[in-house]
Symmetry: C2
């Protein structure tokens, strides 16, 4: 694909230059912006995206029919896409300086698919510039408290608008495509409990418990005692009130403390959706804690967003949405288990379940967007729309994964022979 094969259309939408013989005169009239956009699109494998510029100019790559349109408000906004594409796009979208005509998820899927395909080739200078890297916020004891506070403490009322009745803020599990969000969240909790083979009278420690739904579910349906740790004050307050209201306060203890301060012995260790906030350098420490918690017959489960290979989180997500977050590859996750000779028994990739969960969240979020705007502002509404839609696209295109890892001490021979018990009843 070379430059002369591309078309540049004027704002009236008619074709000014098509075919090689007409390209040269057209090229002379093209702006520097148009040429930069073409170069960018070419680097992305020419996804079917048309740029609508502030001056009425329309620029696209070549190839497939243009199905997505990206409206850019001004020259400065366009240039941030070249100097810092991830942060630049996210911030400009949030401010309304960039808008996407048509379906936002499909647009982002197109971009992610192009980007992931390009990622196999060695990066060009332009790409290296576009892939400016940010150091993630550190997850020290105080760093973690700050990072977690910035995301999870922005308001239980806000989250309750779109998370559904379980208030589970992690990937659900859809036994069938027709399951509702609430059904799928309950099914996820059962799936986790079956993987842990919970039995009445046993004890469980939970690292990172969100608004407490899993702890309550385990206590109610499996008759276990739970100690659940979380450093989000808002979440702990909510979870405690829930345990009280549901008459489970004697079975489920919510502890406002860091997972690094877990002590004691338990039949099972579980952590759903906390690993993203731990930081790879702390994985051996997390494994040490899990290992120290578990007797020979014990078993554990860690559920986390992941990657096919190591890569920093999307810079805009890490900066604006999830400070300090990171999605590990499976090999990176193994740094939790290897130092302690823990056996990995089962890894299940639930990426399509997370795409589905996020679509359900996004639909509820959009239905409540006026309420969100009244709680925050229009910029916030757009930021979280982009975060949710971008996450759908990531899980659909496989640039994000969701790993559920079951593990046990090396010499635990009470593990089930097969996984059939997960699929009965």
């Amino acid at each position: 694909m070379n430059a002369v094969e591309r078309s540049v259309r004027a704002s009236n939408g008619t074709c000014e230059a098509e075919g090689a013989e007409l390209a040269q005169p057209a090229r002379e009239r093209r702006s520097i912006e148009a040429r930069l956009i073409e170069r960018l699109l070419s680097h992305l494998g020419n996804p079917p995206i048309e740029f609508l510029l502030w001056n009425g100019e329309r620029v696209s790559g070549s190839g497939a029919e243009m199905v997505h349109q990206l409206r850019i408000a001004d020259r400065a906004t366009l240039f941030t896409l070249f100097t810092d594409s991830q942060l630049g796009f996210g911030d400009a979208y949030s401010d309304g300086r960039i808008s996407v005509e048509g379906d936002l998820i499909e647009f982002l899927e197109t971009v992610y698919q192009s980007t992931a395909r390009r990622a196999a080739a060695p990066p060009s200078l332009l790409q290296r510039l576009l892939n400016r890297r940010y150091a993630a916020r550190p997850n020290t004891l105080s760093g973690s408290r700050d990072n977690i506070h910035r995301h999870y403490d922005i308001g239980n009322d806000f989250y309750s608008l779109w998370l559904g009745s379980t208030m589970s803020y992690t990937c659900a599990y859809y036994p069938t495509p027709a399951a509702t969000l609430d059904e799928a969240q309950v099914a996820k909790m059962h799936h986790v409990c079956r993987k842990l083979q919970l039995q009445s009278g046993q004890s469980v420690v939970e690292a990172g418990c969100g608004w407490g739904s899993l702890g309550l579910h385990m206590a109610r349906h499996y008759g276990v005692k739970v100690r659940a740790f979380n450093i989000s004050h808002e979440q702990i307050v909510y979870a405690r009130a829930r345990a009280q209201a549901e008459g489970l306060a004697s079975q489920v203890e919510y502890v406002e403390d860091d997972y690094r301060n877990i002590s004691g012995r338990y039949d099972a260790f579980v952590s759903v959706g906390m690993l993203e906030h731990v930081g790879v350098q702390n994985y051996p420490e997390l494994g040490r804690i899990a290992n120290q918690c578990l007797p020979r017959h014990g078993r554990g489960l860690i559920h986390s967003i992941g990657r096919n290979r190591p890569a920093p989180l999307h810079a805009w997500i890490e900066r604006r949405i999830f400070p300090g977050a990171y999605a590990p590859s499976i090999a990176e996750m193994m740094q939790i288990f290897e130092p302690w000779d823990l056996s990995v028994l089962d890894v299940e990739n639930l990426r399509l379940h997370y795409a589905r969960t996020l679509r359900h969240w996004l639909a509820r979020y959009e239905a409540a967007s006026e309420r969100v705007k009244s709680m925050f502002d229009e910029k916030f509404v757009r930021m979280w729309r982009l975060y949710l839609a971008g996450s759908v696209a990531g899980f659909t295109m496989g640039t994000l994964q969701l790993f559920q890892v079951v593990f046990a001490p090396r010499d635990n021979n009470e593990i089930p022979l097969t996984r059939a018990h997960l699929y009965q009843g």
Copy 2:
């Protein structure tokens, strides 16, 4: 536990020294051999093992009741246990210079459990000496041919004595503990085919096909076309004859060639029990081939013996039984998939199935031991007994794992939503 708490008994079996107050005089009479053995046993956490020496001396660690007895023929044999424990023990056992009184598997389980528990602590100088490392034989194209020839070409008649009617020389799958070996091998093949979602008319490439059972099974039960690669001449000859006899030669092609020479596109890629012979340095190349074989809707499965963390194969096994073999950790296995952005969908650890499979093999092997002796010699009989029994012990104690890894191209969205289909019917 200190030295004076240990007991040294004379050959008549009566206790000459028990309790601290009597230890000193006894100690003076103890041989240098006895003191070295005590030190060794102490380093292993004092497993309940008693050494019966050539001169009638009996030496044990302290603690639990002595349940295992190890008979050592001479001083030189004892000293090889200190200078090169893995190779020394295996070779001496094969020659009959060491024998184990009572159950061999239980003895080896005791040793592996002690060794694995010690492995968490930093190694002492003695341990470092005992853990002398051997470089595994290289798996270049010609090195692999040589390595494979040395194990798999020793005689189809020999293997048919104990592998069962399927001639599958890999971990079986026991849907219930009562399944027979043949039932479990057939169940394994169905389990693999379901994981691959094979559909009639599709094509499969198999890297390392043994005596051809999986290829025939896939063709017969799933209506697929199979190209199966193997560099063991004896196995290929056997597999081709079988395909001919079963009327499946037009559906299953057995190719006597290295997996590195696989070309073409297939709906599925499968490799059961070959990875142990690939060598970690060749994993990215194996992944390149799998990735190149698979269209977007493709999927693959790799089944291999593994480890909880990187460690060389037991030196005696690598030297005497499986030249060039290595059992990778999950993180090491990820070097197959990461460079190509392949998604890992499912990892299942079947270690207890391999312990069961090996017990079934060993029972058949023992029943045929006179026949094996007539084909080879007594030393061979003892070598393979040790190899099979040691493998049972490794899988039972979790020093060995068995990983089945399902993978697919990143953007394959035709993957099943759940794994329930593996457990229906």
